[in-house]
């Protein structure tokens, strides 16, 4: 096993794709760095914290992007975001079998906040354009920094999200909520509370993540491949009917769980017999326990 959580963006891509198949576009040798960080005398990265390129997944042609949490928490700045948008638009021309986004991001990079926010918006439109063109976009979320802010929205614009238990997905990170609203609202140091609110198991039970895998690069690879093949049969669906169906699902989530104050209440309502035990189960036992219980 090779931990996805602890690996770097490049390490994850190495393990995910067919050996030697990654061809990076605008690689670090080009030194395409953020001009704004330089103005602030803040260290830059030669890839601005994201790797984009073409590769193969069990022979299928894929475009990939991997955010590096080790550089500013994977936050999106002007160059970082433009690389992601450019990659997505490349899919419109080259029509790969799919696009894989290895997300790990706190959202907009505050050092270049305005440019980052607009960049995320451009990524959002590009994701939807790619899906509307019939090309699936799959998200992998299991990195150290999780996936928050605008990237949390981007992830749910895609066809499917693969998560590990260690992955986290949300909009406002627990620290941001605690800082702004107070520790009574969200205690970001309560690790158990954080994991059961934004962690992979809860996201899977809610239906926000399509697949839950172990923290293993090979498991992410297998899940991405399975989703890619499923989606190549039916293709992305952004029709009025599909969005009305999604609307109904979100409406019933609000109705059923809107009054819940903790994930444990939601799990209980889902019919899980001993909800307090879910956090300690390993992935395989968890999946066996919640079979037929998720939304």
């Amino acid at each position: 096993m090779s931990s996805y959580y602890e690996d770097s963006a490049r390490g994850r891509l190495d393990g995910l794709l067919d050996p030697g198949s990654l061809i990076e576009i605008v690689p670090p040798t080009e030194r395409m760095v953020s001009p704004h960080l330089r103005q602030l005398d803040t260290p830059a990265a030669f890839d601005d914290g994201i790797v984009v390129g073409e590769g193969r997944l069990a022979g299928r042609r894929v475009l990939v992007a991997a955010q590096e949490g080790g550089f500013m928490g994977g936050a999106v700045g002007e160059v970082h975001g433009a690389k992601l948008t450019g990659l997505l638009e490349r899919a419109l021309d080259t029509r790969p079998d799919g696009v894989l986004l290895l997300v790990e991001s706190g959202g907009v990079r505050l050092h270049e906040a305005n440019a980052g926010l607009i960049a995320v918006s451009e990524v959002m439109r590009a994701v939807l354009a790619v899906r509307a063109a019939g090309i699936p976009v799959i998200v992998l979320d299991g990195g150290t920094f999780g996936c928050f802010g605008g990237m949390g929205i981007v992830s749910r614009l895609c066809d499917a999200v693969v998560m590990s238990e260690e992955g986290r997905l949300g909009l406002s990170g627990p620290e941001v909520i605690e800082t702004t609203m107070g520790v009574e609202e969200f205690d970001s140091r309560d690790r158990a509370l954080v994991w059961r609110t934004v962690g992979g198991k809860h996201r899977y039970l809610l239906g926000e993540a399509a697949t839950l895998v172990e923290d293993d690069v090979a498991a992410f690879r297998a899940a991405a491949l399975a989703l890619l093949d499923q989606l190549s049969d039916r293709g992305p669906d952004l029709s009025l009917a599909a969005l009305e169906a999604e609307h109904a699902v979100l409406g019933s989530r609000l109705e059923r769980f809107g009054g819940c104050r903790d994930a444990l209440d939601i799990w209980e309502k889902l019919g899980v017999e001993e909800p307090e035990k879910l956090p300690i189960l390993d992935t395989a036992s968890f999946l066996a326990t919640v079979r037929d219980r998720r939304v």
Binding site: I25, M32, R90, E112, N114, L128, I153, M181, E185, F186
Partner: protein, 234 residues
């Protein structure tokens, strides 16, 4: 500008718009065109209920009034910051709203955004930033974070950020900064109905914000980098 004055100035031919708390929707008429209006007041935070409601309103326009233009008048201080909204997957509700707006556009509805109060972060991303074109009133405010908060988070002295903001639009809040970076197509002043009519008639061809930002000198690299990644040989 308060929303009653705004609606009267946007729709001199009349409007039929009903408010329910911080939310409002309905129809406005401008020079013979009926426009679906969806919006909020009071700098309201957008939580899951509001995102869900706006998404429903967009879907209803697509279902019942094919082709009718949509004007988003969303006044928000950003996404609602709450444990309970995160627990229920607020990012999924925001994404759903974004998908509905995008659906409207793909189905031939002109979608416009007008920032008349505040537009902040996630609440802006899931609404007006998804429009074909987004406009703003000159006295509106757009931001991710104010400079003092940015100084705290980034540990960069406020004086330095203030000094840099004099020449760069990247750091400080402000509609003019967002205009220079291409996210705001134009600022609306004077005859707002004429501005709206002109925006409804303007051609749209995909996401031109990077090119605009480059042309206006506010974002020098976004267009170049995206184009290179799109077109470079692998």
């Amino acid at each position: 500008m308060d929303v009653t004055t705004l609606l009267d100035r946007l729709f001199p031919d009349g409007h039929d718009i009903a408010a329910d708390g911080v939310y409002f929707d309905g129809i406005g008429r401008v020079f013979g065109t009926e426009v679906a209006v969806i919006g909020t007041v009071d700098n309201t935070p957008i939580g899951i209920e509001l995102a869900f409601r706006m998404a429903g309103a967009v879907l209803e326009v697509v279902r019942r009034h094919p082709g009718r233009p949509i004007l988003l008048l969303v006044d928000t201080q950003g996404q609602r910051l709450s444990h309970r909204d995160e627990l229920l997957g607020i990012n999924g509700y925001m994404a759903h709203l974004a998908k509905c707006i995008d659906l409207a556009r793909r189905n031939g509805h002109r979608v416009l955004g007008l920032v008349y109060g505040q537009a902040v972060s996630g609440g802006f991303l899931a609404t007006s930033l998804l429009a074909d074109r987004c406009y703003a009133l000159p006295d509106a405010e757009i931001r991710v974070m104010n400079l003092p908060a940015m100084a705290r988070v980034t540990k960069i002295p406020l004086e330095r950020l203030t000094e840099l903001s004099a020449s760069s639009p990247v750091f400080a809040p402000g509609v003019e900064n967002y205009r220079r970076m291409g996210a705001i197509a134009a600022l609306w002043q004077g005859d707002l109905a004429a501005c709206l009519a002109e925006a409804l008639a303007a051609p749209t061809d995909g996401d031109s914000r990077r090119a605009l930002g480059e042309e206006r000198g506010g974002r020098q690299l976004a267009r170049k980098v995206a184009d290179r990644v799109r077109h470079d040989a692998a």
